[in-house]
């Protein structure tokens, strides 16, 4: 006993050095009781840029601890206590609470207690309204999720609402993440986590505010109770033992409201939070069980799974499938292309993203003709390997799923593409969409890096997956002017890579040429397409078309001047970066280039007043540029406007450089050509 106490003291001493803050844990954490709301709390207000918020979270306190349930299974208890002050009528929805609960055949969660109430000041007194029986609703959303809903009465601006609940969850593999930050400002957020020595979790935290670890100690826990045998409810076994647990508390204060910004992957990549994933367990009388301790372990586990490894095992059935359309004489590249084309045509993606297959065999997938991205791309990998082409899965966390933290965490991946290696060249393939081609895959999967799973060496390695090729749009417009101020000429479009993919996807939406043209001319007032020709969407990564057109209403008259914008309908009319502030990096996903050429034949009887001045605007590191050049050659002028953004991610401090770049683009591209009647 003495020894144990000594040990604890030792930890505490160490800790007092670790804690950066002078305040003790007691001073930094909040002691609050459900139902005890002080008059002073009604005076609390958010400040600064959040002063007009619709509601403010006065506190949000979470606690995670472990115990054994009466089936003898370790469970974790998640308790949460939050109090919100509603500040305006737009904040009334904060008086409705929802607690989602998960249940499947082998995992159960339940709410063990919940209290909900609202508070108003009447006279000098705080009056409490508890949630009534008919204000609780259970929405059985589907067979897995049940949403418990609570709505409160007597809500007005100034009302304080409060909820305190406990969930008992068997899902110790994946603990609930704790969000310190929300859409409304939070004055105090606190999480305490006590993990018994048998569990090892990986902690991931990201924060936009100060997140203080105010307490970190080893405590001694007593676990006692009895386990009912599931086969014989009369027999039960009691237990009583002590164990150590690591107890930690994090506190954040005055956390500003989280607001979304354009051109980011997902808000979940930035919001202040801590998440956990089980790494290993070391129970007494049991071996150490590793869950996701290293990439090698993860890969080995994956390859043993029926929903992953089994599907990439080459067998006779996969060889039979490809023998139908592969010739031994074909080159490796042609074989790859044939298998890829075959799969793109035969299976429809059900829009679901997962790294785990939903079907049991590739025969099954091909028969069903549909599947999730894992079904489709694992089949692709299998068929490629059956043809002796080296293909391996790349695991990705999509942009909307958020950045992968890098550490060995399998659960954060949700997408698979194939990496094919032929003669020291690597290709990325994704067969979920018939319009994808080699090195053009699911746009949301363009999240910078992926984990290459080597099927032979059973190793996992991070590799970059950013597109190397720029997605280019080149428009060449050749025009002349008619007598009645009408422009006639041709529009020649040429798009590559992702831009070609987008153009093809759009083309697919129309069942006839007429409908396609109708859509093209929509919002381009005065444009009439007389002929659409040379449309080429057959070659991978290229889209081209030529249109013969006339344009009315674009050329304007001012006295003896005629003027029009040489960009026609292609000018950048708005700055995509409007906001006066920026917190997060700007993420464009792919390098982009927009090249616009305008060739104009000056009609007889007119002269060009003065040529627009050329400009060249570059970012300091040359990662983005805008150029505008003008050349006159007797009766012909050539204008070239080029926007190139080769950087994919720009840190937030460079936001204003991009804003300035686009300001220059918008200004320059608004300049007209002015003709004078002779």
């Amino acid at each position: 006993m003495l020894k144990k106490l000594h040990k604890t003291c030792f930890y505490l001493t160490i800790l007092s050095f670790c804690l950066s803050k002078q305040l003790s844990a007691q001073e930094q954490t909040l002691k609050v009781k459900f139902g005890k709301v002080e008059i002073e709390e009604f005076k609390q207000k958010p400040s600064g840029k959040d002063s007009l918020a619709n509601a403010v979270m006065l506190f949000d306190i979470g606690d995670i601890s472990f115990s054994i349930n009466n089936n003898g299974r370790w469970v974790y208890k998640f308790s949460r206590h939050k109090r919100i002050k509603i500040l305006s009528k737009d904040g009334y929805n904060y008086a409705n609470f929802e607690i989602p609960i998960y249940k499947s055949s082998n995992l159960k969660e339940e709410i063990s207690s919940v209290s909900v109430a609202s508070y108003n000041i009447v006279g000098e007194k705080v009056i409490q309204n508890k949630v009534l029986k008919d204000e609780k609703f259970t929405d059985k959303y589907n067979s897995y999720w049940t949403i418990n809903k609570y709505t409160l009465s007597n809500i007005q601006p100034g009302t304080i609402v409060e909820i305190k609940y406990e969930i008992i969850s068997e899902d110790t593999y994946d603990l609930r993440s704790w969000y310190f930050q929300h859409e409304i400002p939070v004055l105090h957020s606190e999480l305490t986590l006590a993990i018994p020595e048998y569990f090892q979790y990986k902690l991931n935290s990201q924060s936009l505010v100060n997140l203080d670890l105010v307490n970190n100690e080893v405590i001694s826990q007593n676990h006692s109770g009895s386990i009912t045998s599931s086969s014989d409810s009369y027999r039960s076994q009691s237990y009583n033992f002590m164990c150590n647990a690591t107890k930690r508390t994090w506190v954040a204060k005055n956390i500003f409201a989280f607001k979304n910004e354009p051109f980011i992957t997902t808000s979940d990549d930035y919001i202040t939070k801590i998440s956990f994933e089980l790494q290993s367990t070391t129970f007494p009388n049991d071996i150490m069980r590793n869950y996701s301790s290293s990439w090698q372990k993860i890969v080995e586990n994956l390859l043993e799974l029926e929903s992953f490894g089994e599907l990439v095992k080459v067998n006779n059935s996969s060889k039979n499938i490809i023998s139908g359309f592969i010739n031994e004489a074909d080159s490796t590249e042609i074989k790859m292309q044939k298998i890829y084309n075959y799969l793109k045509k035969s299976i429809k993606w059900n829009e679901k993203t997962s790294i785990y297959a939903s079907h049991k065999s590739i025969k099954n997938i091909i028969d069903q003709k549909n599947g999730n991205c894992s079904d489709i791309n694992l089949t692709l990998i299998n068929l490629l390997n059956s043809a002796n082409i080296k293909a391996n899965p790349v695991l990705i966390s999509t942009r909307s799923n958020g950045r992968h933290p890098g550490i060995p965490l399998i659960s954060r991946f949700n997408y698979i593409i194939a990496a094919v290696d032929i003669n020291n060249k690597r290709y990325f393939l994704d067969a979920t969409n018939p319009n994808y081609f080699i090195n053009c895959f699911y746009e949301d999967a363009l999240n910078h890096k992926g984990l290459l799973v080597d099927l032979t060496s059973k190793e996992g390695t991070w590799i970059p997956i950013e597109p190397e090729k720029t997605s280019k749009t080149t428009i060449t417009n050749i025009f002349t002017l008619n007598n009645d101020a009408q422009l006639t000429g041709s529009i020649n479009l040429y798009k590559t890579n992702y831009e070609a993919f987008y153009a093809k996807t759009k083309l697919d939406r129309y069942s006839s040429k007429e409908d396609y043209i109708k859509d093209y001319t929509k919002n381009k007032s005065g444009l009439k397409v007389d002929d659409l020709k040379n449309q080429n969407s057959e070659i991978d990564g290229v889209f081209a078309e030529t249109m013969a057109v006339t344009i009315d209403d674009l050329v304007e008259e001012a006295g003896n001047l005629l003027y029009f914008n040489p960009l026609l309908f292609e000018r950048t009319k708005e700055n995509p970066f409007k906001s006066d502030e920026r917190l997060f990096p700007v993420d464009f996903a792919t390098p982009k280039e927009e090249n616009y050429k305008f060739i104009f034949n000056i009609p007889d009887g007119y002269s060009l007043e003065k040529l627009p001045t050329p400009i060249l605007y570059k970012l300091e590191d040359n990662s983005a540029l805008f150029s505008y050049t003008v050349i006159q050659n007797d009766k012909q002028i050539l204008i070239n406007s080029k926007i190139l953004i080769s950087g994919i991610v720009y840190p937030s401090e460079r936001y204003f450089e991009l804003k300035e770049l686009f300001k220059n683009i918008v200004n320059k591209q608004s300049e007209p050509i002015v003709l004078k009647k002779l």
Partner: protein
């Protein structure tokens, strides 16, 4: 031998059947303008009694391309008052062969709660069928038992643009003693068949060609066949009623809410405290309405007959929340205590809403408001909004037929309509330009009516949201916001004033030796629909409004004005437009006015509308030309 013959026959007949839905069997005429073809749709609605019916439905639809993919999302909703007996689907390939069949257990069961509700008791069985190549065909069948009936299923065989129909039938049968009502469009009156016990009517259509999508369309309802059906006597969730006409339905609704308007004593006292000193009835209504708005919030819970019957006023008094019915009924109770008579009013709240005067049915309505008739005029109250101005009906309830509920039954009346002069955007802009071409802009705008509704949220937005909204709506790029102010111009009126201070680096656009400035800074028309040859559907202008802009440019001394555009004036049935530019000293004064008249206009007038919009589009982008000296 016999056995073999039998097998061959069996094979042959199933082969024939399989071929029936091959895509090649679709007549060419039904492929024009179509994304999907309904091959066969049948609905049999068999009434057993005023409360019970069996509904059998079969749909076979061919999806021709990606645009029609929504038809692969199958769903069937049900609740405690109905039971699904059979549910199945199959996937049929281009050749007409069934390649996969789906049973009830393949459907996902989930709750079906509308976004505005906390809780409703409806659920749905849903299934999405995916197939990699077009075209393919889906068959969807179900049988559902209804144990409560307020409405009967309608029949809209051609419910959408770009959808053609090979065959669609609807058969309704009922016990002879029951009377069923129907309303038909573009359909012959059917012969009633049957015997002493049961009667039936059957409708059928063949080969309806698809309609192309047309801009600003008023919809297909005028030109396609459809039928509405409804009960005379019905029984819903244990309550029976008569739905022969609106008056009868109103009576039933009145009885549902009768007696629910009792207030607790403390609220009664409050009502007297608030109103006893007031003499004017309108003032009393206003005060009580403000009281309701301050105390209550909107929470929707719909359970069985609770979808039609309000909560008791006592409950709202206790909780201070409720849905449209509960809050309207509570307001009625407050007014009653102040000796003011009011009526619950049933509304179809959607852009094209409004109850049909020629056919009563419960599913036309989805909202409730309160009508307070006074001696001289009538006050209308929207009770679910905490911010709606007093006596203001917005775009979702104005100018339409509604059902007033009174002890003597239902009565159709029309809510007041918002005229162009009620929905204004009046704007005055002063632009001060310095010698370098940089501009300081003072912008004052007054919004009323529907235009007030569009901007009202800005009053309550946080600064970042206010800015983001302004940046997203201003049509001039690179503007910087320096100052923002919103205020309610007059209390209780749908009127907001907006004051913005903006700056703009270099307002001029260089063109040769000249400087150009687009005179219409912030209210340019950018959309002109294309001309539609041989248009089929009528078109709608969906809002009455009036915009007035005045922009005064104060120019620096070193600029000379070379050119200002001529005046544009146009008057049409759809609206009027004028814009003019004048000079005075160092000022350019630009004025623009546009009034639009909400209505449905005949298809053949559409090209006149395009011409009208084109005139506006051209006039709105006109520029003044200046020279720097």
């Amino acid at each position: 031998m016999r056995k073999l013959f039998f097998l061959i026959l069996l094979f042959y007949s199933s082969f024939l059947k399989a071929q029936e839905y091959a895509t090649s069997n679709i007549p060419d005429s039904l492929l024009i303008n179509a994304d999907a073809v309904i091959r066969k749709e049948t609905r049999e609605f068999t009434l057993k009694s005023p409360s019970k019916a069996i509904e059998k439905y079969d749909l076979i639809v061919t999806i021709l391309n990606k645009n029609a993919e929504e038809y692969n999302n199958l769903g069937l909703s049900y609740d405690k008052l109905s039971r699904i007996e059979e549910l199945s689907a199959s996937l049929i390939n281009k050749e007409g062969t069934v390649i996969k069949e789906f049973k009830t257990s393949d459907f996902t069961d989930r709750s079906l709660i509308s976004s505005f509700s906390i809780y409703e008791d409806s659920r749905a069985k849903v299934l999405q069928i995916n197939y990699p190549t077009y075209p393919y065909t889906i068959k969807f069948s179900y049988k559902i038992n209804h144990n409560s009936l307020l409405s009967y299923p309608s029949w809209y065989p051609q419910s959408d643009f770009r959808l053609s129909v090979q065959k669609s039938t609807y058969e309704l049968s009922h016990p002879s003693e029951m009377k069923v009502r129907f309303k038909l469009n573009k359909l012959p009156i059917p012969a009633v068949q049957g015997d002493d016990k049961t009667k039936s009517i059957k409708f059928s259509i063949h080969n309806l060609k698809a309609y192309a999508i047309e801009p600003l369309s008023a919809g297909l309802n005028k030109i396609t066949p459809w039928a509405l059906f409804g009960p005379t006597n019905f029984e819903y969730d244990g309550s029976s009623g008569d739905l022969s006409d609106w008056n009868a339905y109103g009576k039933w609704l009145y009885n549902l809410s009768a007696g629910l308007d009792v207030l607790p004593n403390d609220i009664k006292i409050k009502v007297h405290e608030l109103t006893d000193n007031l003499t004017n009835e309108k003032d009393k209504i206003r005060v009580l309405y403000k009281y309701l708005q301050a105390k209550s919030r909107y929470v929707s819970v719909q359970l069985g007959i609770g979808g039609l019957k309000p909560f008791e006023a006592t409950k709202v008094a206790q909780n201070n929340y409720g849905d449209c019915k509960a809050l309207s009924n509570y307001m009625l109770a407050l007014l009653k205590e102040a000796n003011i008579k009011s009526y619950l009013t049933v509304v179809g709240a959607n852009p094209k809403g409004g109850l049909r005067t020629d056919f009563a049915s419960a599913n036309q309505a989805n909202h409730m408001i309160l009508c307070v008739p006074l001696q001289k005029d009538t006050v209308w109250l929207e009770c679910t909004s905490q911010r709606s101005p007093f006596n203001y009906l917005g775009s979702f309830t104005e100018g339409r037929n509604v059902l007033l509920i009174s002890p003597s039954g239902g009565q159709i009346v029309k809510t007041p309509a918002l005229k162009p002069s009620d929905s204004q955007q009046l704007r005055k802009i002063n632009v001060f330009i310095d010698s370098l071409g940089n501009a300081r802009i003072k912008l004052y705008t007054q919004y009323t009516g529907e235009q007030f509704e569009d901007i009202q949220h800005q009053l309550y937005n946080e600064i970042k949201e206010q800015k983001d909204y302004i940046y997203s709506t201003l049509q001039t790029p690179n503007v910087r916001i320096e100052k923002i102010n919103y205020s309610l111009a007059e209390k209780d009126m749908p009127k907001i004033e907006e004051n913005l201070d903006l700056t703009l680096d270099n307002i001029f656009v260089n063109g040769g030796n000249n400087k150009f400035v687009t005179l219409n800074l912030f209210n340019k028309k950018s959309y002109v629909p294309e001309i539609v040859p041989d248009r089929k559907t009528d078109f709608r202008i969906s809002m009455n409004y009036h915009d007035y802009d005045e922009v005064i440019y104060e120019l620096p001394k070193n600029y000379k004005v070379e050119f200002i555009p001529k005046e544009t004036q146009i008057k049409t049935d759809f609206g009027i437009y004028t814009s003019s530019t004048t000079m005075s000293d160092n000022k350019i004064i630009y004025k623009r006015e546009q009034k639009m008249f909400k209505s449905t206009y005949p298809a053949e007038k559409f090209n006149d509308l395009v011409a009208f919009y084109k005139t506006i589009y051209k006039a709105d982008k006109q520029k003044a030309v200046l020279v720097k000296q």
